[in-house]
């Protein structure tokens, strides 16, 4: 009992000291960076206030302490704060470099040799058995590659419509390969086609759905892409009814990449959510801020 009382008392004292030191340093920082003019103004006000109360002592102490702090520590503190600003700027540079790396990684993850070789093999075989279908798949492959490459160079050319179009080309190729094992559903209202949307994210999610959800499933399944606006948030989800997610499977560079890029582009305003609905399969949702009026 006694020990716990002492502990409580100690905790209280510690908290009080913590709080006091926090306020002291806050005051210290403020004095260090505030302009002399404003400091004089506060002196005048404090003098006036305590003068009216007829107890000028606190005011004198305040003036004395803040003057001392300002003279002694102001320069050093200011330099410290400036150094912090400089570090922040360096961080921004690092972030930009990381973004470039993320883009390169996205590109590499995108056109993976497996996909390319299998599609080319398919075209090769369709040329003999079904030339019109071969021409269609070939055209989709060209669309897909053309859309993938220059987009990586454009800094901010991504709209949702463009991403959907690109994904359709990819899905058309996968449908030619998987036939009736792959169903595709797009629920994207026309007005959202012009909404800005970062490149290569939708495709990564769709590819994951197919690669990890539907390809391993014997009877296959359906990929559903749905876009909607909920409370000024653009919500784009990719759902499949595949085998679901193994909790021991690594989440892969693709998702980590999306998360990092969302963080860089939108900070805490955007997020990537992964869920497994009760009916099975997996759902990945990207949520990012949506502005009603796209500025011209």
């Amino acid at each position: 009992m006694r020990a716990s009382h002492i502990n409580h008392a100690l905790d209280f004292v510690r908290d009080a000291v913590n709080e006091a030191s926090k306020w002291w340093w806050r005051f210290f920082d403020w004095v260090a960076v505030v302009e002399w003019r404003r400091l004089f103004l506060t002196w005048f006000l404090v003098l006036l206030f305590f003068g009216m109360l007829n107890t000028p002592e606190p005011a004198v102490w305040y003036i004395f302490i803040s003057f001392a702090v300002k003279v002694l520590a102001g320069g050093k503190r200011k330099a410290e704060l400036m150094a912090r600003d400089a570090t922040m700027q360096a961080n921004v540079a690092t972030l930009e470099r990381r973004l470039m790396e993320a883009r390169m990684a996205a590109l590499q993850a995108q056109v993976e040799p497996h996909f390319l070789f299998n599609t080319l093999a398919l075209i090769g075989q369709l040329i003999e058995t079904d030339p019109p279908e071969a021409a269609r798949v070939h055209a989709h492959l060209i669309d897909y590659l053309r859309a993938t490459l220059p987009q990586m160079r454009a800094r901010d050319g991504g709209t949702l419509g463009k991403q959907v179009e690109l994904s359709r080309a990819y899905l058309a190729i996968m449908q030619a390969r998987m036939k009736e094992r792959l169903g595709v559903r797009f629920i994207v209202p026309m007005f959202l086609h012009s909404a800005p949307f970062p490149p290569m994210m939708l495709q990564t999610l769709i590819e994951n759905s197919i690669k990890h959800g539907l390809e391993p499933k014997i009877e296959g399944g359906t990929v559903t892409v749905r876009a909607q606006v909920v409370d000024a948030t653009l919500q784009v989800e990719v759902c499949d009814d595949g085998v679901g997610i193994d909790p021991h499977a690594d989440d892969g560079v693709g998702l980590a990449n999306i998360r990092e890029r969302l963080q860089l582009l939108y900070g805490s305003q955007a997020e990537l959510l992964i869920a497994t609905p009760p009916g099975g399969g997996a759902c990945a949702t990207i949520r990012l801020p949506y502005q009603m009026m796209e500025n011209a």
Binding site: R14, A109, N118, A121, P247, D251, R259, P277, A282
Partner: protein, 273 residues
């Protein structure tokens, strides 16, 4: 020549166009070969292969349900195995060293003709004498086992898919009707909270039933450290360690406001170098 010289074959590929092409090619280069079964996945391939006991099995390597290599491990005793793949550098390396037959997709007529000629002589040789030499299945079995091991290990580094790591990578938290999958890379720390364990990410907080002890056993020990009886923290998320007035070590995390206490038992984790 005679009727007992006809052979049977099984084709397994999850992509129908590929089966069509292989069938058409086989009919052209080896009209006598009877394609008695076609399978669209590995399980079906094993089932049909056991049922028909075909002389030859053409197996795609990547198939849902069961890979072609796994299927081959069950079928090689009565069928000659020929693998087909469009791109699988590790498998190709292995094939080139071993005695296993393989085809590159899309299958060219010339390549298929050579393979078929070789198969034919082998099959005829094994039928003609006194049925005493059924090839060396043990050898094939061993090669297949090696191949499986090789693909499982190499696949990890190669396929940027989700390799099986053995450690827990996703935290499943019930949110409404569905199960949220929280990647361990998003988690800042786990903290036991009476009956539940609290999972903290930069943007959200979840409660799960798994105990800290269970998590400790399943998570990657290099990814998460135990810093307190009731706390597991993600190493990457640690920003700095400081001491408070009572001399306790406190952790500050990136993108998170609060602090975490390091117990004395675990303070050795944060010694100065």
């Amino acid at each position: 020549m005679s009727t007992d010289q006809t052979f049977t074959a099984l084709i397994a590929d999850d992509e129908a166009p590929m089966r069509d092409l292989l069938r058409a090619r086989l009919q052209a280069v080896w009209p006598g070969l009877q394609i008695v079964a076609e399978a669209a996945n590995g399980l079906q391939a094993v089932e049909l292969g056991e049922q028909h006991k075909t002389d030859i099995a053409f197996l795609d390597i990547r198939m849902p349900g069961m890979s072609g290599i796994e299927a081959a491990r069950q079928l090689y005793r009565h069928s000659h195995i020929v693998f087909a793949t469009a791109y699988d550098q590790y498998a190709l390396d292995a094939f080139q060293q071993g005695a296993l037959d393989y085809l590159l997709k899309p299958v060219s007529a010339e390549r298929l003709a050579t393979t078929c000629a070789r198969l034919r002589t082998r099959l005829e040789a094994s039928r003609q004498p006194s049925r005493l030499a059924p090839a060396p299945p043990e050898d094939i079995g061993r090669q297949l086992a090696q191949l499986t091991a090789l693909l499982e290990n190499k696949g990890k580094a190669a396929a940027e898919a989700r390799p099986k790591s053995g450690y827990l990578r996703w935290i499943q938290a019930q949110v409404g009707a569905s199960l949220r999958m929280v990647s361990t890379r998003e988690v800042l720390f786990f903290q036991s909270d009476e009956k539940y364990t609290r999972v903290q990410t930069t943007s959200a907080e979840f409660l799960i039933r798994k105990t800290l002890k269970e998590l400790l056993d399943e998570l990657d020990p290099d990814e998460f450290w135990r810093i307190h009886r009731s706390t597991l923290v993600r190493v990457d998320a640690i920003a700095e360690v400081s001491r408070d007035l009572r001399g306790r070590q406190m952790l500050r995390l990136k993108n998170y406001k609060g602090e975490l206490e390091v117990s004395r038992n675990h303070s050795y984790l944060f010694q100065q170098m």
